[in-house]
Symmetry: C2
Subunit: 336 residues, 2 copies
């Protein structure tokens, strides 16, 4: 296997996908750092808003590998890591190469700018996945070029672009993703489908969603809570897509604090929201197909149940897949 620039960039892309859906309102970003002998020093990703950017985490790990100074590993705050690196780097980064799936940011937001950090540390070579279209954060590339950083663009443009598709969408107006869990025989009914780990991941996604859309039948049959309790997170507002408005108000989702629940027969409500998850099966899949940007399938390696997607007609492009504990996660774009 070729261990080259594409390989290092693809490690960064894969790592970033693991946190897709969790970084809102920030993009999913990954970063790999290799040393002067192309030794792999760090592979990191941005995990959630308020946490350090991927580049900062990668520089933190790489600094430890290069200097053996373990004090930096105690720092969790991005500003503290920035400051520590600026004070102690002693030109250790001089010959490294940094691979970032997204152009390093040039603005000071929740954390200081990554591009300025890269310049201050004297890093000579930065590979960029895609340019950042976000007007506030962008043009880190120009800043780096002015500071004599050799900025190169990856050949894995398509994969780097796929990775920030959700960010581009919610940055522009809103991002809508359809999540479902199914067995290998396409069923979605009869008991729990996904493993505990997959369900935790869904709760972590709900925690950063502002609206969750679900079908009326699912509410009546499953009597769900639709919160983020498995990760101690906040519960999103809920839109129950239903012609009838009568629901047993003892169904737990109605009693979750600090949440609005709407029961409506249209999707007009979504205009007020930015990061929207739809959970459902075949019926919701059909009803929402015109508004969905990306599909996320949790596929359990089991066969059972009664029905689900057996009659569906669709074609997808797989953007990323990985094993999540016992299940498979499939991030997909719909083609047909």
């Amino acid at each position: 296997m070729l261990i080259d620039d594409d390989f290092f960039m693809s490690l960064a892309i894969d790592e970033a996908w693991k946190y897709q859906g969790l970084t809102y309102p920030n993009p999913a970003v990954g970063c790999t750092i290799v040393g002067e002998n192309k030794e792999l020093l760090a592979i990191e990703a941005h995990k959630c808003a308020g946490m350090p950017h991927a580049e900062v985490l990668a520089l933190q790990s790489a600094y430890f590998k290069l200097t053996n100074d373990a004090k930096i590993l105690d720092l969790v705050d991005s500003s503290e890591i920035h400051n520590y690196l600026l004070l102690h780097h002693n030109n250790c980064f001089k010959n490294i190469s940094l691979y970032s799936t997204l152009e390093p940011c040039s603005h000071i937001g929740k954390t200081p700018s990554c591009a300025s950090l890269i310049c201050s540390l004297g890093i000579k070579e930065v590979f960029v996945g895609v340019r950042d279209a976000n007007i506030v954060a962008s043009d880190g590339a120009s800043m780096m070029l002015e500071n004599k950083v050799d900025v190169k663009y990856t050949t894995l443009q398509k994969r780097a672009k796929d990775l920030i598709l959700p960010f581009e969408r919610f940055n522009k107006d809103q991002f809508v993703f359809f999540k479902w869990a199914q067995r290998l025989n396409a069923t979605t009914d009869t008991g729990v489908i996904s493993s505990q780990s997959s369900r935790q991941k869904v709760h972590a996604m709900r925690d950063v969603c502002d609206l969750l859309i679900i079908g009326g039948n699912t509410v009546r049959e499953d009597r769900p809570t639709l919160d983020a309790r498995l990760v101690d997170g906040k519960a999103p507002d809920v839109l129950i897509l239903s012609r009838g408005v009568e629901f047993d108000r003892e169904i737990p989702l109605f009693s979750v604090p600090s949440r609005e629940v709407y029961i409506e027969d249209s999707l007009k409500r979504i205009k007020n929201y930015k990061n929207i998850m739809i959970e459902g099966s075949f019926n919701m899949f059909e009803l929402t197909k015109d508004i969905v940007d990306i599909y996320l399938c949790f596929l359990a390696p089991t066969m059972g149940g009664v029905s689900g997607f057996e009659d569906a007609k669709a074609g997808f492009e797989i953007l990323y897949t990985n094993q999540e504990d016992k299940d498979i996660m499939l991030w997909m774009k719909r083609e047909i």
Copy 2:
């Protein structure tokens, strides 16, 4: 992400899985080499019998990275690579670490022994996935220990063991795997399901299988050839599992040269074969469940067709998954 011994071993395991089903009668083996600063120098796998072992390919790549002597890259024959390394290594491997999913072999088969090569090159540290139970090839670990190589065992025992399950089976008596292609909605009918790349992979597997088992209905409906033409490979013998023996002899599979075709209503025939692939859908899945060691599903990210696995009941453990062009490959062990 932690870049540690487990990470390097898992790179080797993942690389080896890419050639699972293709290495018969050899095991699928992967090898990672890292330099003295833990820089990643090579990730390689054994690709098919007669080709160099994973360790030899990894040492070849690593030698080039360490010395910049490109002449070694022209060599394809394992003995030539061995000899070149022995003549020119000049102690460049002294501080490397080698991670092999399987204990390096100690016997001279189609290629010279990897364990003796490791000893001759002065490698100080070797991480082993699992011990080799093959009596002829095994005890490379003892040879290395006698030569003061620091032999360590990975903590990823379970994954390394899963990887050589097919080898252990055909080494003992025979290995039987069930391969099917399905859409995301579990259908297996109505036209081509898998991408060209997936079909090539199946042909490459047929090339090393000695028996292919298929159901009578599939033969009548699909009128298949069941050869390995997409990879210019040899066609395996075919067992058509069928109560009725009347088939249109114009069906292409009957005209493939150098192949036996059996039409039988039992699986007794398999006792004469070592590496056996079953291709089919739900019916064959049910009929063969008692003899199958591993399942391989090519999952296309499409929904359509009419029927397939919708009524199946089963539970699997996923051993390995990866994207194969547009499809997903799932290697699984059946649990229920």
